[in-house]
């Protein structure tokens, strides 16, 4: 019995020491990571809204050209020309997929999509984050919903050519984009009404 207690105590001690180390490392690194993330968010919103910027004036360009509206924890970024951008996030095949989606002022045509983070299979699923795939979404219609079809088979204006070898990752992205558009619709309508 004493042996069992010793074992449990040992595990707790090891766990606690390592957790303490983790907490210290986190406290030091979290602010830095937050700052990095904010910067990435700003430049992806600017990229998606097609607003040029340079490394040094990122913050000023962002505050000058983009207006943010927040409601119920969701934020929409509006450019001077009425184009909107919002973050999209969800689960890919292997891990979370995060990005920013831009819609034109008509709120149904895609302006641009930028994937900030994905963890899909390198060279295959990960290509959903590549520019040459994402550019296929430009000027496509999000109504009734975006649809990724087999490569070469895109016919209607809401269909996009997929990538061979990335079927599942593509399906995941499609679901994320459509879900987020649905969720942001009411806020978008409200914002554009102003």
């Amino acid at each position: 019995m004493k042996e069992k207690i010793l074992m449990v105590v040992f595990v707790i001690v090891v766990g606690s020491v390592l957790t303490a180390g983790l907490i210290v490392v986190s406290a030091v690194t979290n602010p830095v990571i937050e700052a990095n993330n904010l910067k990435v968010m700003k430049l992806s919103v600017l990229a998606v809204l097609d607003i040029p910027y340079t490394e040094s004036d990122l913050d000023t360009v962002f505050s000058d050209n983009v207006r943010a509206e927040t409601k119920d924890g969701r934020t929409v970024y509006i450019s001077k020309s009425g184009d909107v951008a919002f973050t999209v996030a969800g689960s890919g095949l292997w891990g979370p997929v995060e990005g920013v989606m831009g819609l034109k002022s008509d709120l149904t045509t895609v302006k641009k999509i930028f994937i900030v983070h994905q963890e899909e299979t390198p060279g295959l699923g990960s290509r959903i984050g590549d520019d040459d795939f994402l550019s296929r979404f430009d000027d496509k219609s999000a109504v009734p919903s975006l649809e990724i079809v087999a490569a070469g088979k895109a016919a209607t204006n809401n269909q996009i050519d997929g990538i061979t070898g990335a079927t599942l990752s593509g399906k995941a992205l499609e679901a994320i984009l459509n879900n987020e558009i649905k969720k942001y619709r009411p806020l978008l309508a409200e914002v554009s009404g102003k």
Binding site: V11, L22, S91, L93, G95, T167, L168, A175
Partner: protein
Amino acid sequence: MLHLILLFFAAIFTHNIALTYILGMCPFLSLSRNINVATGMAAAVTFVVTLTAAINWPIYHLVLVPTHSELIYYIVFIIVIAASVQLLEMVMERFFPSLQSSFGIFLPLITVNCIVLAVSLFMILRNYTFLQTIFFSVGSSLGWMLAIVMVAAINEKLELIGDIPKGYKGTAIVMVIAGIIALSFIGFGGMLKIQ
């Protein structure tokens, strides 16, 4: 309900944890010589995976999240898994000695099986509800079972009738069989629409 059933079947076919994600390979290779051994291991895995996911879910969502301690979830999950397996071993020894003799040897191996941790991690990553977690855990484990049993079945037959080159005997031929089955499972690709 439909969504749960879709999730279950997706975990077996389109998102098979062994053939799509290539997880849980280590025991795969050592235990796919014999169907009975493979089935036994897979049954034990199914039980442990579902049990630990069912324990880890409330710990994460009802303890770690409210106290903002998500940082340590890896460590907590591992401890839960190891503890559950130890507990299971003790329970089996005491109350189910007959089961112990057939499945008992697999239990220590399960602790280090990638799948057990992976399922718990996926449930957090994809923000599953408790019910979704259960369906997903059982589905994934059954998917792993399907993969390992198919490979074991083919392997057994092959060892009896095939003339396997010496360098291929053992691990390498299992890889080839797994590869062919993985190839066939790709065909399930766009079959189910989940999430």
